[in-house]
Amino acid sequence: MSRVVPYPLLMASLLVMWLLLNGFTPGQLIIGCVVALLSGQGLAALQPVKPRLRRWDLLPKLLGIVLYDIIQSNIAVVSIILQGKRSQRRSGFVNIPLDLRDPTALAILAVIVTSTPGTAWMDYNSTRGTMLLHVFDLVDEEGWVDLIKNRYEFLLREIFE
């Protein structure tokens, strides 16, 4: 089974993608399955580190949080940019220690951080397990560390480890 369908979740989403693109018909369903299998094999050839999803029921929660945060930070950043000179903000780097090690989880974290306006993933130091973050509006540093660690990393560790 795992030989034929190495990445069930991924291949399922590929099938969904296929159906989204071609519209749902039985024929497309079959073709989509074939294509998904094929693509899955393609990924399998690369032998990536396989993520172990322990609690994927938490994914929607994560998604919700993230979307909400993104909206918030959108508003924040927009207001700052539009204020221009008048805004009293200080931007800067924060070097955050992470307990998260799983690359997939890290990647998700990276996606979250990056697609949230106002925070930018700058560097990850695997030897020291620290992530260097650039924050657009650095009101209080601890707040950011706390946000990352408790709001995102915690959930991600729940899901992946």
């Binding site: 950043v77 990276a110 990056t114 697609s115 993933w121 650039h134």
Partner: protein, 128 residues
């Protein structure tokens, strides 16, 4: 806009709203990208466009075509997903590259490779 004629007004309004929102966010993002002083600030701005800018325009498109063809047309959502997933790649690679370049030029703006963890990291405020 012949196709828009047989579009219910509510839908038109929804589409228009999302459209304008998205365009506005993207514009502001690009404007910030143009306006802001340091690169590390600039790198934030375009994400407005890649996050909710894209999202809302995609939504607008989905609503429009779903209503027009009176069936769920959702394939635009793929664009949203892929943009969200791929933008970080560029930004991470670029940010780190910038970091390297600034460090190798001995810039004081950026923390050294072995910067102290969390709270104690001295961060230079950039006024603008």
């Amino acid at each position: 806009m012949s196709h828009a004629a047989d579009l219910p007004v509510w839908a038109a309004i929804v589409v228009a709203a999302f459209l304008l929102l998205g365009a506005f966010l993207t514009l502001v993002g690009s404007f910030g990208f143009y306006r802001l002083q340091s690169f590390y600030d600039r790198i934030h701005a375009p994400t407005l466009g890649t996050s909710w800018g894209t999202a809302s325009i995609v939504i607008a498109s989905m609503v429009l075509f779903s209503v027009l063809q009176s069936r769920p047309v959702l394939h635009e959502i793929l664009i949203g997903i892929f943009v969200t997933v791929t933008t970080p790649v560029t930004l991470m690679l670029l940010g780190r590259a910038t970091l390297y370049r600034d460090r190798s030029e001995g810039s004081t703006e950026v923390p050294p490779m072995d910067a102290p963890v969390s709270g104690s990291s001295e961060n230079t405020p950039t006024k603008d």
